[in-house]
Assembly symmetry: C2
Homo-oligomer: 480 residues x 2
């Protein structure tokens, strides 16, 4: 006979057959204040270790965990301890337990001052016995695994089993921080009087010239996936919304298999009318970025440090006001470092990174603006520089030496826009609706598009954009 | 000789050649407090009317406008008045003027207490002389045009010239309110501890069975556009994010040409783990909706009234707590009203609307939940009712008698999910990644997806979802 047989077991599937008024305490709330209280908690079995008449469990809830003890005694039978010890890792359990102060801090858990003395334990959802990957392997710093023979998990295995990989403290921190970036971006702009807009992703003509665009079957015709919301943002400016932003997917049919290219990513896009000089736009964007950096630093320190445990990096540095260099200054710095390049040549990826290191050495900042790009390397709608039309009123922004934003003053005059489109051999018929938008009065304006995944990757000093995309898409990956 | 010749003209295109430190006052700031001040303002020529030696202009900036007077005198010549009178409507001008108190309120302008006495006027961006549609026609209440022979503008003409149509006070109000809905949605959920997620739109298998899905060419293979983020939201729940939301485009290749169907719309999606009963989820969603309704009522009254001038409607009513009816109760109400329908039959659109009217009569609310739909009419992943498997733990929510959200407790058990998929003749191979997500411990959870455009349309009492989509997409419209 098992005197404790009603105190453990596998619960029937929760099908909403009754609404218990039981309070479930959050793991992070399990502190000394709750000492000696009998509580219920729902969590995953993170690890379990049986030892004679006792079983030690670590119960995990998101980034928090707590030690729990099932021990043979008045409230638990031998059978109950055995049952607890045999629950598969990652299963979800409801546990009733007394919160007890511990003599010695439990260093391996987030809740270090208490442990749970389990009185009831029921499985709410069983995990299969064999996990495709182990959470502790997923959070091991790279390199460490190799040294002492323990495993780390390669990226494709992680991504193939993303639902488990996302449960790690590192993933939880990355995507909470990403959610924070979006919120900071929007809140900052809302405070500046911007309006959020929603732009279509299915479009009738390739917005940026036709290369690298995905085709969609659209009833009896075909359409394209928007490579950016830029033309629509501009139409909103022509429609008097004055300052707009949008957050949404951006599609690039580019067969690039690099650490920083995705075929679908999230664009944080800004467009605004300005009065007399596009530097008003640059300042609005850099101020927004600075607000994001400050917000992350002040509100997401735990997440930053959690990620740092697995992927160490230097804290992200920025200046106020943001450093703005002209393209020619950048080229001069590169030449001084031995790079040979022409005045109107675009920055290669290695040169971009090198320039980032040179700027960091000289100015001690991980964020800067490179202004006045050669006109030849920018899209047709970029406003030429008023004094030297080899250059343009355009800029890129960089974090840790990698581009995160590209932007410009746009041409707001239909005639000049037509001339520039012809110069770029663009079929005018295909961009008629776009050009026509500027025929009925258009204010001078500019903007830019920020890659969310890149911002998160570079802020955290990570090295692959797939780490900051929940379900990344690249030429070789469409699942999960 | 024109003594005022430097006081007017067409400015060179603003190309950022200089950064003036001139302050431009906003039109809405032109009040009695600014009386007798000399100010600069940038605005559009809304209307102009010459009258002897005077020209009256109405200058517009978004939803605000002010009267301006150019009169022959010390500061303005005859030529200058003529120039001002000939500026094409919708052109953007910089005006220097003295703000003067007026004797009689100017009823036709938003700034009723003052007018501008113009001293300088320069065209910043010229509109072409012939506008494809007139703003005053665009805001005329339907019906009024017909009666006295004045024009209203049909929807296709508006949408073909959306950049101009969006400048009307009605459009400005609609899309400012829409931006507000998104912000209220997110702020409410953030306060409840939700995390924002970004889900992929390009997917490898049709998420909801295969019908009505757009196909995308994806390098050497093909892919699909996500019909909802639901499967990804659920994976995030399995990945311990606990409560998630996302805002993003949703694609439906449905050849429906109705007032409420779009092929691309914006989904406000919610998914959350619950403890014991899916009504926890319903309450979380209805509370979010109520927060949105209250926020709109309290912060967007101007916008609501502006839209109401063109499209009159009753103020939107809601109850606290939200009314929840069971499907069978709804069917009983319909039968009492003479409708013949089976217990397990889905609601037709006319019956949906009729039920909305009956509910409004009986309970005086424009918002309610219909709970416990027949299992047969819901997707395979819907949790059956625990006591009667003819029904399910699923619900729709309605505003003014039209569905704005569909949701349910989802099956979180891989085995039951497999059984239900087989029952629905779904190819298990295609949803393997989805089903596998539930094999490693999954909490009970539920959620729903809200159509942003429908919420805005129905809240404002409008009659076509194209009015609340900036650049709508339907089977026949892909531009602008």
């Amino acid at each position: 006979m098992d005197f404790a047989k009603d105190r453990y077991g596998v619960s029937p599937m929760v099908q909403s057959s009754q609404r218990l008024d039981r309070v479930l305490v959050r793991v992070q709330e399990l502190t000394l204040e709750k000492s000696d209280q009998l509580i219920w908690v729902r969590a995953r079995i993170h690890t379990s270790r049986a030892k004679g008449k006792q079983c030690f469990l670590v119960l995990r809830q998101q980034q928090f965990n707590v030690q729990a003890l099932v021990a043979v005694g008045e409230r638990a039978s031998k059978q109950m301890v055995k049952f607890a010890a045999n629950i598969n890792k990652e299963s979800i359990v409801d546990v009733e337990a007394v919160v007890r102060k511990v003599e010695q801090k439990i260093e391996s858990c987030s809740q270090q001052d208490v442990e749970l003395h389990v009185e009831r334990i029921f499985v709410i959802s069983q995990a299969e016995p064999r996990l495709p990957l182990q959470l502790e392997d997923c959070v091991r710093p790279e390199g460490e695994g190799d040294e002492d023979g323990r495993a780390t998990v390669n990226q494709d295995t992680r991504l193939d089993n993303r639902v488990i990989d996302l449960r790690t403290t590192t993933s939880q921190a990355i995507f909470r921080l990403q959610s924070g970036v979006c919120q900071l971006f929007r809140d900052t702009l809302m405070n500046k009087g911007f309006v959020e807009i929603q732009t279509p992703k299915i479009i009738s003509a390739a917005s940026e010239g036709g290369a690298n665009v995905f085709t969609v079957s659209y009833f009896k015709t075909s359409a394209y996936l928007a490579q950016s919301p830029q033309l629509y943002k501009q139409m909103c400016i022509c429609a008097d919304f004055d300052k707009v932003f949008c957050v949404g997917p951006v599609f690039r049919a580019e067969d690039s298999n690099t650490h920083r290219h995705l075929t679908e990513f999230v664009g944080l896009d800004i467009e605004l009318a300005f009065n007399y000089h596009y530097h008003e736009v640059i300042e609005s964007i850099t101020d927004t970025m600075v607000q994001i950096f400050k917000g992350l630093r002040d509100k997401f320190q735990t997440e930053i440090q959690t990620v740092g445990k697995q992927f160490p990096s230097e804290p992200f540095k920025f200046l106020e006001p943001t450093l703005r260099l002209e393209y020619q200054e950048g080229v001069a710095m590169l030449r001084e470092a031995g790079v040979e390049m022409g005045d109107e040549e675009d920055l290669s990826t290695p040169n971009e990174k090198l320039l980032g290191r040179l700027v960091k050495e000289k100015y001690d900042t991980d964020f800067y603006v490179l202004d006045k790009y050669p006109l030849a390397v920018r899209p047709f709608y970029t406003m030429p520089d008023p004094t030297d039309n080899k250059y343009s009123n355009s800029y890129d922004m960089f974090m840790r030496g990698e581009e995160i934003l590209s932007g410009a003053q746009r041409i707001h005059d239909a005639q000049l826009l037509t001339e520039r489109a012809i110069h770029h051999n663009i079929d005018l018929e295909k961009i008629k609706a776009y050009i026509d938008s500027f025929r009925f009065g258009a204010p001078p304006h500019g903007g830019g598009g920020i890659g969310l995944e890149r911002v998160c990757m570079l802020y955290l000093g990570l090295h692959n954009v797939r780490q900051t995309s929940m379900f990344p898409r690249d030429p070789k990956r469409l699942t999960p």
